[in-house]
């Protein structure tokens, strides 16, 4: 590594990453004898101590079932669970907590919309529009509902840089389009999709829009009112929260008109064998005892993110991306897949003569954790005619030094197998 490169590293004076890293206990460990470099946050992020402590505190002091008991513990659990819903509402600027539905994650949120919103509406010949960037969670639920209804799935193509083709979208959207379902940020390539343009055009066609925000929410400011989308889906575990909890935001008028998705306790007001009346929003969509600790953990995660500030997180992420892109581009034989002008801090790449799986193993022995494979986006891999890629995804707890470690490990891989 040359001194010139080191000195050209951008320095974020107002971003104290060393202090932030102390909040994440898992980062302070050796893997295979080397300090851990965790570069797979797009698959699942790590958690700060405040999130772990919030969950511990709940189980140690406040646990009881929610919305049921008149006793103190149940009230505390309910307050914490519903308090987290208000935190989430504020975080994405929804109008009301009635629009915030707890689900298991992005995947369940999309399935809920496919089955409860789309399925009753779809007729043979109707169309659902997605893009070629989507990961499997924003493809397969639509394929299922198309099989169930005779509707058709239409796919907006992408360009060689990994951008969704807006002109093709304008040709594809039409009178039979019933829903547009788009990734806000691509997990496999990092492309930030300019969803505002797509939403504006969809509105002209009176087509509702679902955004898969799993990769956008952790790294940027998301305002569902400003976006004017109809559904927005994201997962807790990609944004410092627990696994098994996620959010479906839905426009209240749409959610009101949708039938429940799953039946059970909590989603009802009265039950007789003849007639059941359903609970009001948001509980209409939350059958059974929910993931109470998950919701509380997600609330704590959002407060942690807000404490740092999403604008600062986004700005630092951009610095990391620029540095990683510049450094990786200097490695002979390395090809970056996904070069859209607007990107999140994700660098997907291949190396000449070295399969991504071998890259993953070699990097792991250097303590560097990257994702290798198809990233649950096999159509994206097919488009770029690669069986798989290696992907480094960066979070605000990563450092420029860690990118240097990645580069050194990749050089090692090249010496070994290239």
């Amino acid at each position: 590594m040359s001194a010139a490169i080191v000195s050209s590293r951008p320095r974020s004076v107002d971003f104290d990453v060393a202090r932030i890293r102390r909040d994440f206990p898992i980062l302070d460990q050796q893997v295979n004898g080397k300090p851990l470099v965790f570069l797979d946050s797009a698959a699942s992020s790590q958690r700060p101590r405040t999130v772990i402590e919030a969950i511990d505190h709940y189980y140690e002091h406040d646990h009881a079932n929610v919305h049921r008991g008149v006793y103190t513990l149940s009230q505390r659990a309910t307050d914490a669970y519903e308090g987290a819903r208000e935190t989430i509402r504020g975080f994405i600027n929804a109008r009301s907590t009635r629009e915030i539905i707890y689900v298991r994650g992005t995947t369940e949120a999309i399935n809920l919309v496919a089955q409860s919103y789309a399925r009753p509406k779809l007729r043979p010949g109707d169309e659902i529009l997605i893009s070629a960037l989507e990961h499997h969670a924003n493809i397969v639920p639509w394929q299922l509902v198309c099989e169930q209804t005779g509707a058709q799935l239409k796919v907006i193509p992408i360009s060689q840089t990994g951008e969704v083709d807006f002109a093709a979208f304008e040709r594809l959207i039409g009178p039979r389009t019933r829903l547009l379902a788009l990734a806000h940020v691509s997990n496999a390539l990092g492309t930030i999709v300019p969803v505002e343009r797509f939403i504006a055009r969809a509105k002209e066609h009176k087509v509702p829009v679902l955004l898969d925000g799993a990769q956008a929410v952790p790294h940027s400011v998301v305002d569902v009112q400003a976006l004017d989308c109809d559904f927005y889906c994201f997962s807790g575990h990609k944004m410092l929260g627990p696994t098994g909890i996620g959010v479906l935001y839905g426009r209240e008028s749409l959610l009101e008109a949708m039938p429940p998705w799953q039946g059970g306790g909590d989603m009802i007001l009265t039950v007789t064998f003849e007639k059941t009346t359903y609970n009001q929003l948001p509980w209409k969509f939350e059958a059974g005892t929910p993931h109470i600790a998950g919701a509380i953990g997600l609330g704590a995660a959002i407060r942690y993110l807000q404490g740092i500030g999403m604008e600062r997180i986004a700005a630092y992420g951009h610095e990391l991306l620029e540095y990683a892109t510049a450094r990786l581009a200097c490695i002979p034989g390395l090809r970056i897949i996904g070069t859209a002008p607007q990107k999140a801090a994700v660098v997907s790449f291949t190396m000449a003569g070295i399969h991504p799986h071998d890259i993953g193993t070699i990097l792991d022995t250097e303590g560097v954790a990257v994702r290798t494979g198809h990233h649950c986006a096999m159509p994206v891999m097919d488009f770029f005619e690669v069986p798989a890629t290696a992907r480094a995804s960066l979070s605000f707890y990563n450092t420029f030094e860690e990118i240097d470690r990645l580069v050194a490990a990749l050089e090692h891989a090249r010496q070994l197998l290239g």
Partner: protein
């Protein structure tokens, strides 16, 4: 974990210069193997002389372990009977997965180079894909097999 144990010289050599690489046409039997998790795809071709494999070739792409393993396989099975191939597969599988495998590694020849894979459990199916595919070919199966 020592990388040199996984990427031994024999493995690196067979990955860079795979032996018996290409299509066998005509072939008495062939089968496709796919490891969806990592995207490895192989086709194994065999010609048989009675019960014996007279020729074996493969094509496809995959990681260094899967390519080297397939290359080593085509060399190792040539001239062997179906029963001998099955026995060899059992021994290779034991070496890939068990630390205390009761296998005389010296009998495996170059295939012994795969023994380092057992330290990397995520990579075992890379090494075994070609063997499952060969078995499918020998069973005259044409449906793709998978290690999932």
């Amino acid at each position: 974990m020592d990388l040199k144990d996984l990427y031994r010289d024999v493995i690196v050599d067979h990955n860079r210069h795979p032996r018996n690489f290409g299509r066998l046409d005509p072939a008495d039997a062939h089968a496709d193997g796919h490891n969806p998790l990592c995207g490895d795809r192989l086709t194994v071709y065999v010609n048989l002389d009675g019960e014996r494999i007279s020729e074996a070739k493969f094509e496809g792409n995959g990681c260094a372990i899967s390519v080297a393993s397939a290359s080593l396989l085509t060399e190792a099975v040539k001239g062997k009977s179906r029963a001998q191939v099955r026995e060899l597969f059992d021994e290779v599988h034991a070496v890939l997965t068990q630390h205390d495998a009761n296998v005389d590694v010296s009998r495996l020849g170059k295939l012994a180079a795969l023994s380092g894979v057992r330290e990397f459990p995520a990579r075992v199916k890379c090494a075994s894909l070609c063997w499952h595919t060969l078995n499918a070919a020998l069973d005259r199966a044409t449906a793709p097999v998978t290690t999932e």
